[in-house]
């Protein structure tokens, strides 16, 4: 078997937000590898730190965020330590990012075509005429009808889906190696969600890029991902291939999430849910952070934090009792 090339290697990353009530650790010791050419999904509930992790990669964190420790190696370069100018060369050209809210992500006072064209002008030193032509082509590629005409329009005349398509056009003109999509469909209508996902999937194959998809929706995971990382309260609790995660989840939290989806699909059984709410990141629980909500909790879970270990081939989990979890399948 071919050894996969590691494109993005996050090591022991710790990020906190300084707030008036103290330091909120949004990402607490996360390590993660993303292989070239794959679609990696980072899944978790709102507020688990997955967006913070995503924003940290191109260093787009808000000013009150502090990176406490760790490194983010992209093609062997530590993104947290390169100069600003080097980083600017990488952003948009090698590492591109799409955000959650397309409604506010485009500049309202500039024409859509101009905003797309800015990218090749910056990175390929293209002339404006050439870049605008590229922009029109790219807008057409992502499915904007009449791209020549629409590229001269302002964002407010676009629908949410069209805005997200324009964002995708903007971020893929330079055919980046890594495309980070932070909940790209959350703000959109359900019908449009599928189209946008399909578009991302197509572009990934067409340009051979690596897709890091952040989502809270396990349905999306099942459809497009190769591998999955599950985050809970600032930590990665499980990483595995998508089939493995669905067939044999080893972390109680992952299992709970999947049961929610499956229960809904079966639709006859009553809605499954994980009891309790996600913990405060200001004062996280001791030991395993999931223990207050966990059905498999033992004394060890309260006292000692489980480490993320490879328990099967390409399957990492952070749970003291994963054997018990893995033993009971949802289908029984």
């Amino acid at each position: 078997m071919r050894v996969p090339e590691v494109l993005l290697d996050v090591r022991d990353l710790r990020i906190c937000y300084e707030t008036s009530r103290g330091c909120v650790k949004a990402v607490d010791g996360v390590s993660l590898e993303v292989y070239a050419g794959e679609t990696f999904c980072l899944v978790g509930e709102t507020g688990c730190g997955k967006s913070t992790l995503a924003l940290a990669i191109p260093r787009l964190l808000p000013p009150n965020a502090r990176i406490l420790s760790g490194s983010i190696l992209f093609k062997g370069v530590d993104l947290l330590r390169v100069s600003d100018s080097k980083l600017q060369e990488l952003r948009g050209k090698e590492i591109a990012m799409i955000f959650q809210n397309p409604m506010t992500s485009l500049n309202p006072v500039h024409r859509v075509g101009f905003q797309v064209a800015e990218v090749p002008v910056t990175h390929f030193k293209m002339s404006w005429r050439e870049a605008l032509a590229t922009a029109v082509r790219q807008l057409g590629r992502v499915g904007i009808a009449d791209p020549d005409l629409r590229s001269r329009d302002y964002p407010h005349t676009f629908s949410g889906g069209m805005k997200q398509r324009s964002m995708i056009a903007m971020m893929t003109t330079c055919k980046p190696s890594l495309l980070i999509a932070d909940e790209p469909t959350t703000a959109l209508d359900v019908t449009i969600q599928a189209q946008i996902l399909k578009l991302l999937h197509e572009l990934k194959n067409e340009y051979g890029l690596t897709l890091l998809l952040i989502t809270h929706n396990f349905g999306i995971v099942a459809e497009v991902c190769d591998r999955v990382g599950v985050m809970y309260a600032g930590k990665i609790v499980e990483v595995a291939d998508v089939t493995e995660v669905f067939e044999a989840p080893l972390h109680p939290y992952t299992k709970g999430l999947i049961d929610c989806v499956v229960a809904r699909r079966k639709s006859k059984s009553r809605l499954n849910q994980i009891p309790g709410t996600p913990p405060s990141l200001l004062n996280p629980p001791t030991g395993c952070r999931f223990h207050p909500r966990c059905a498999y909790v033992t004394h060890e879970c309260v006292k000692e934090e489980p480490r993320l270990i490879e328990v099967r081939k390409n399957h990492l989990v952070a749970c003291h009792n994963y054997e018990k979890v893995g033993g009971v399948s949802w289908s029984s």
Binding site: P63, N64, A65, F99, T104
Partner: protein
Amino acid sequence: MWFNKERIRSLESNEVLRLFLKHKRGVAGLILLSFMLFIALTADFIAPKRFDEVDPSSRLLPPSTEHIFGTDQLGRDIFSRIVYGARIALWVGLLVVVVEAGIGVPLGLIAGYYGGSVDKLISAITDMLWAFPPIILALAIVTILGPGLTNVVIAVSIVSWAPYTRVVRAKTLSIMGREFITAARAVGESSLSIMFRYVLPNTLAPIIVLATLTIPSAILYTTALSFLGFGAQPPTPDWGAMLNEGKDYIFKAPWCSIFPGLFITLTALSFNLLGDALRDVLDPKLRLG
């Protein structure tokens, strides 16, 4: 906003107080304002002389231990006049704001509550008023009414209630869609009762902020009109009128002009500092003008 999580502020008084006390400039403004209030209230005790006590033998004396701010062209003690002037400035500021709010708030409530053509009419009047230069309009009104402090207060109030209508209207519109209004209507509350018992309390925060921030401009307008000679008439120790008299002696006795202006600035500053802090604490998204 891509990072500031929507800050939801409850109007619980201890939370507001806690946030306010952390606001250094706001506290500075409050201290300054308390000082002005103190001298205004205790003027009878701290002023060494009466504000109209003329002393021909000590005209235009520079500041000294006897007259710490000097004396004016009639030999009146400037410090005493300033202390009494604080009463006028604060009273005028308060009065203007009360009149402005008295006109502007009900109009804003009505416009926001009824909407439609009523709203259009009120908004049109507000916009038209907005188009007039305030001092010019105030001058025109003073021309009709004649000079005097009361007339200046009326003139300034008439020309500057528009912001209250705008702010209250906007706030009312945002409240009208909420469930508790629908509920109040459903149980048969009258329009008047809904407006004053349900809507008005929810517009109080912006009104308080607006009032604090319009007091300094009211003081600046009225002193400007007094400075031109249309406001308070001698021997009233109005700071603007003092500047009007003092400007003729600007080289011979600059203290006649320096101190009244300094106190206008300090008073306006105290309200501006306080108002900024109140806005930050009560209604960070409030936009004025």
